[in-house]
Symmetry: C4
Subunit: 253 residues, 4 copies
């Protein structure tokens, strides 16, 4: 089920390729500076017109990426003729991005990173889904955690398939997180928010208690989310099936 | 009850608008670099003469803010003609700032951020109020935690109303913190101190013990606070009603 | 037992000395910025042709290192005539590097740093070896912890002797970590991954659980490691003798 | 009892004032970037010839300090005529520095900062003194914690008096740390090492165990410390009286 938002028009998407290259390089540098990736980890892509993607190459430390290192592929992930210098190839994790674009005609960019506290929560089997921080709920909705998938394998797109249509931010079991947005910077901003949420949840647990928001407040925040982002009631609803923090409660019951 | 400090004269406030824009942009970059905000979070404002405010726009990643992105409003938060480019609007959280300016004629700037450890303490229901770190007590007084308010709603100004008149730094339940000061950099410096205090308190709890300062030392530090900041005895007093860490003790009993 | 990878040809190694100096300085600055070293801690070296090394001097804060500060030595660690300015000497820890080059003709660079969470795990006697994070297993293999050695002493090369031939990343008991790679940046990237792994393991333990990967998934990841890096079955195998997290299991039984 | 190292000659000390201003500004920026101070916290000084000090002013955010903001005082802390611009005054904490210079003719610089994990350990009543990390023991000796002193008061010099003669790095109870060295950068490097040590100790405790080094290894490291720094046996000895981690053991018994 896709978000009921308008598909971005060709005009919106056909931004200046040069500006998009600059934006992706900036996002990669920020990811590294904030410790959301180590070394060559992480990958970023954006739509380039209706039929292409601009994406990061495999094997390059993302903190040192240059604009000319980026790779242009089609929507199946094949490098287009002239789309890369020096035999550069897209990351094997581009599979995750392709699946996200397929199921989300409304998004223009995808970010995959390895934020450490998000990863730690999945390694410990602790969910990021509970409605705890109001702005996380309004801006990201439920941060669901996918099933485990072998990195770079075909399992990657499979485990996000059931979720990415209705979630802008997913924790990947023992493998970081993926976020989608209207631009590389927008998707990256959601990644920062995911990790911030993870840091707060982990610290609060260590302090002894994680207060869940009351149900009437959750309803108010979901209404704000719906209005703020122009979502249907269904698309804005929290994913109670992935949570269970409010015992016995199901949003759509 | 407002602080008994002199209202800044028009001369003080009518600083060069250009310099204030530069200072706000610098504060926003620092907030992002130090992890006190994620993405588009956070907002900063400053008085511009007696009847206007200069403030950050909504929706812009604060680490990338430019001087020309700022917005000029009146003291009711309405954008003044020519006060913003390209349809930029102030943050919905400007309501918090307006309330602070209304109750604190002595302050010239307000900062709202989402420092993660401060937020985690509120999520865990742990108070930042106890008198633990001497310099926090001298420089900030009691860091009280407000009641919960739905972000961007009318509850925001309501929950700070009873506190902001007598506190320069407040933790907002599950929603970061707000600080006030004589300039954007001054208010921002208090935000750094709030988060530093939260980091120390959280770590000390994890280590097993948080030593509260002895009462006679608290009296000495409050006297220093009073002298250092030119405050009345009442304004300098710790907010024991919000704390309870020294059992049975009330400052003004 | 050395990795069964081709020895790099003279052509590969005889890179431009100037470029290698720039790369080492960049690595040192990154190590300091990310908190993987304090002050004058840490050292980096790289092969310079078949008979020499280019390495960091002792006693200089690595965040302030300049290209001209580097030292050229032979493979016994003796400064070559004209190989250093102003009486600069290589670090006493160069012994570790020399041992790594001796046992690993396939590596071109060595990094030693003091990443704090890696060090904390060794101070607490907690192993980094368990197969928990799939990308750590694929990219680094088992992160084994050496026996304790007095820093700068002859024990240093002794305790890594049994391990460095088959491990690209080692935790040194109460003394940080050492990594090897195809270039200073490659070895440094592994250092970032070691510390990231340590951060995740420490946080997951604090959260109450560290999920070990299932055995069939470990087999799949080791096969990926083997294919990805062109390793023999033996070289790609996890070092179960140093772990014990999967009770009773031994990879080569 | 002072360290038995040579008093630096006038030649050494009469370095270029301009270079010292640059170095202090760099140290202040590093302190802020690494989170060792918040806002206007912290202060740095260095000897300027035999009768003067160059030091940071009070009230300025140290991350924004400029070379011309520094203040020249005599060895009693009085600003010398022409030693400051615009009425700048030295920090009230300069008292700590003056005491250090008085008791340590061998040191040329003093740094005081508020490193958060060091502070947290003192708030929790946990000592940094135990011999745990070999390089801390060799480079810093015992990190003793002083008694509590009201910040900026006369108690500050009193509580360091018994310790600073024989310790290069002290934790100040609930008030950060002070380090001394041969230059501002040298003293600052020790501050980084103190906080790194605190981070490792706190994390290891959270992980469940802090391994103390064996006594024979402590003897070996102390011998290295003695030789490395040219200290007397007495000056190089660990301060067992401030520790107690090895039960019943006293170094000089």
């Amino acid at each position: 089920m896709a978000h009921d938002k308008a598909v971005p028009s060709e005009t919106t998407l056909h931004q200046d390729e040069r500006a998009l290259r600059t934006e992706i390089v900036r996002v990669c540098r920020l990811m590294h500076e904030r410790g959301l990736i180590a070394a060559t980890d992480g990958n970023v892509s954006t739509r380039l017109g209706e039929e292409h993607l601009l994406t990061t190459p495999t094997g390059v430390p993302k903190g040192l990426l240059r604009e000319e290192d980026l790779v242009i592929t089609d929507l199946q992930g094949q490098v287009v003729p002239g789309g890369a210098h020096d035999g550069a190839r897209p990351s094997a994790e581009l599979r995750l991005h392709l699946e996200a674009y397929r199921l989300r005609p409304d998004v223009a960019a995808v970010v995959h990173a390895h934020p450490p506290m998000t990863t730690a929560l999945t390694v410990a089997g602790v969910s990021l889904a509970p409605c705890v921080i109001p702005e996380t709920l309004v801006n990201l909705g439920t941060i669901a955690t996918t099933a485990y998938a072998t990195p770079t394998s075909e399992q990657g797109p499979q485990v996000i398939r059931a979720l990415i249509g209705t979630h802008d931010a997913l924790a990947l079991d023992r493998h970081g997180a993926v976020t989608v947005g209207q631009s590389p910077m927008d998707a990256y901003g959601k990644m920062e928010k995911v990790e911030n949420t993870a840091v707060v949840l982990a610290a609060a647990r260590a302090l002894g208690q994680v207060k869940i928001l009351p149900l009437d407040e959750i309803r108010r925040l979901v209404a704000m989310r719906r209005e703020h982002l122009g979502l249907s009631a269904e698309a804005a609803a929290p994913d109670c099936a992935r949570c269970g923090a409010c015992p016995g409660f199901r949003w759509n019951d």
